[in-house]
């Protein structure tokens, strides 16, 4: 009866001890930092005269503020320029590896970690960024943290944490044609709610997750936090190991077999217990798009926008507020909603397989006149590999702008922003009011292929119809 789930195994192996308040002092094996949430932490340590405890366990990249069109420095935005310089200085002074702009490895932290082989099964990972849950796709336990915790991690490589409950989410059966990991996770969040995962880690499994590629698993784990779950993960398997083989920070060949057996040992044991189990039928998942101002406010493409009178009493005010912001009509079909901007990128859907999938559909199609469509690869490596395959040309021929790597219009801390109340079909992860840089801007989340279909037709539509 000593069976454990992956979360419990990783937690136990990384527990340093119990703190006076009953919280756990948890060791974090890999710490990832970026320019937005780390400078204050370095400042606090300088104030206290504390050194960086394990600089070799922290890796840095710059992603949120980098421009994706005019990439040379100094940046025209002096605040952004100060931020990249500060990160560079902090890393140099502390001996932290920095995947800088000239490294060929820069990109969104949650794209860079996995592709460099830094993210491995059985690890604890933390980053001052809520989408750190992405790394759970490898069977790591990965936490988004605040800046005070970044400080604690730099100083001690540990942080104070309460343990989490674990909810197993099985997605069984098969997905229909043209249904992607993005649809699956939007469906899960719609079902369980944006608050449903609070206090939980989500363990995803079932035949749909078994069939998923590692990049698809990353898309799903990435948005765990949008369902309130700080951690999301998938048990490691042969696909995980195959993905990691030969990456810069992966174990060397002579240690490979030993490491794979250690990694395998972290998988949830047969018959282990969970605090909750949810089962979803994969065949019931349709292309899903958001209509509101949080990621749980979503419908499948064939459905109508909800009416405030049809929802639970306590949800009514939220629906009214969302419809007002989105300028959508209650009860109207979601299909046919006019789109001004299309954004393909982000730590959710800015990986090579996302770009390949869209590019394979594009030949013979053009972005609708007057619509702005941009593609922002998740990292310089994604960009390079995509260009080697000629994907940039496919996108450009279809009328997309091909940009440099970064977070870009997911949160618009760089010059890529919506203007006024533009409506953006977006492959990113958040549709909060003002998220894409304009307080009145509107975001509809969907899979990259659905974004491309919207870019071509100028309206929210079923990509399966557009691309056949």
């Amino acid at each position: 009866m000593n069976s454990k789930n992956l979360f419990e195994k990783v937690w136990d192996d990384h527990t340093v001890g119990e703190l006076a308040n009953g919280q756990t002092q948890l060791f974090i094996g890999r710490h990832l930092i970026h320019e937005v949430t780390s400078p204050q932490a370095f400042g606090m340590l300088r104030e206290k005269g504390l050194p960086i405890r394990y600089p070799e366990r922290t890796f840095a990249t710059v992603d949120h503020i980098v421009p994706t069109d005019e990439v040379s420095e100094p940046y025209s935005d002096i605040l952004a320029d100060a931020m990249i310089k500060e990160l560079r200085k902090n890393c140099t002074e502390s001996g932290i590896t920095f995947f800088d702009i000239d490294s060929g490895k820069q990109g969104i932290v949650h794209v860079v970690g996995p592709e460099q082989g830094l993210t491995q099964p059985g690890m604890t990972i933390a980053c001052g960024d809520s989408h750190t849950s992405t790394h759970g796709a490898f069977g790591a336990v990965a936490f988004g943290v605040g800046t005070s915790q970044v400080r604690d991690l730099l100083a001690t490589q540990t942080m104070a944490m309460n343990t989490l409950k674990v909810r197993r989410i099985n997605v069984n059966g098969d997905l229909g044609t043209g249904i992607y990991a993005k649809d699956v996770i939007l469906h899960i969040i719609r079902l369980l709610g944006v608050n449903g995962g609070t206090g939980f880690a989500y363990e995803y499994g079932g035949s749909v997750f078994n069939e998923f590629s590692i990049e698809e698993r990353m898309t799903a784990c990435n948005m765990s936090i949008e369902g309130g779950a700080r951690v999301g993960y998938v048990n490691p398997d042969l696909k995980t190991f195959a993905y990691l083989k030969g990456r810069p920070y992966s174990p060397s060949d002579d240690k490979w077999d030993e490491q794979v057996s250690v990694w395998s040992s972290y998988s949830s044991d047969e018959g282990c217990s969970y605090d909750d189990v949810v089962t979803i039928e994969g065949s019931e998942i349709a292309p899903t798009v958001t209509w509101g101002i949080n990621p749980g406010q979503a419908v499948s493409i064939g459905e109508n926008i909800p009416h405030p009178d049809q929802v639970a009493k306590h949800e009514k005010a939220g629906v009214i507020e969302a419809l007002e912001h989105m300028k959508l009509t209650a009860g109207a079909p979601i299909q046919g909603t006019k789109v001004d901007v299309a954004f393909i990128g982000s730590c959710t859907n800015g990986r090579l397989s996302d770009l390949e999938e869209v590019a394979s559909r594009l030949p013979g199609h053009k972005v609708k006149e007057g619509l702005k469509a941009i593609v922002v690869p998740g990292s310089q490596l994604v960009s390079k590999l995509a260009m080697e395959k000629g994907l940039d040309k496919v996108f450009i021929d279809a009328g997309f702008e091909w940009r440099a790597a970064g977070c870009s219009m997911c949160l618009a801390m760089n010059p890529d922003k919506l203007v006024g109340d533009q409506l953006c079909a977006s492959s990113s992860n958040r549709n909060f009011k003002g998220r894409q840089g304009s307080p009145t801007g509107r975001t509809m989340l969907m899979s990259p292929v659905m974004v491309a279909a919207a870019a071509i037709t100028g309206e929210v539509c079923d990509a399966r119809t557009v691309f056949g």
Partner: protein
């Protein structure tokens, strides 16, 4: 431990109602282009409070009667979304010392606690009752009692919850855990060397 013990927060309160108030709402991303948290208080709920031309919108935070509030009252899932500590920092720097809401997103809860700003959860009915009392009398003195897990005002007393670890650390002045984490030098070394990766 050199941090103050926080057994209760007493002050005026402001209702900012609605569920799922996200951290982008609390502090829009464009104000995160900074190297310190100084000055963030000014931008609290900026796009909810101001039009794009800078003119004030109708919002409780703009009302003089709520200007001295140090306790914010909101709905379920407060602080969802981004892990940005800029959100609780902007609340703290705008003078807030406690938040009472339906419940809190995990990362926000931890961030706020590490600033010594208690986050107390209570039922929807209680929140509605408290909010309407505040709309009637913005000068009400509200007590967020961390020790006894109560929110009190006038003759009302409502139970609230604060996660045990967080409550303990507020009560014993260890809500900024760094000092305690630093003392475990040997334990940290031992755990690090026991792991199957470097």
């Amino acid at each position: 431990m050199s941090l103050p013990k926080i057994a209760q927060v007493v002050g005026r309160a402001i209702p900012v109602l609605g569920d799922d108030i996200d951290t982008d709402r609390i502090i829009p991303a464009r104000f995160m282009k900074c190297l310190t948290f100084d000055g963030l208080g000014e931008y609290l709920f900026y796009d909810t409070r101001f039009d794009e031309d800078g003119s004030e919108k109708s919002h409780n935070l703009n009302l003089p009667c709520f200007r001295d509030a140090s306790i914010m009252v909101s709905g379920a899932n407060f602080g969802c979304g981004s892990s940005r500590e800029h959100a609780p920092q902007s609340l703290y720097r705008a003078g807030f010392r406690a938040i009472v809401a339906g419940n809190f997103a995990d990362i926000f809860f931890g961030n706020a606690t590490s600033l010594g700003m208690p986050c107390a959860s209570t039922s929807r009915e209680n929140l509605e009752k408290l909010s309407s009392a505040l709309e009637t009398d913005p000068n009400l003195e509200v007590v967020v009692d961390v020790e006894n897990l109560q929110v009190r005002y006038g003759s009302e007393l409502m139970p609230c919850e604060i996660t045990p670890g967080a409550r303990d650390s507020l009560l014993n002045g260890s809500w900024g855990p760094l000092e305690e984490l630093l003392t475990a030098t040997n334990g940290i070394e031992k755990t690090a060397s026991s792991l199957p990766y470097a």
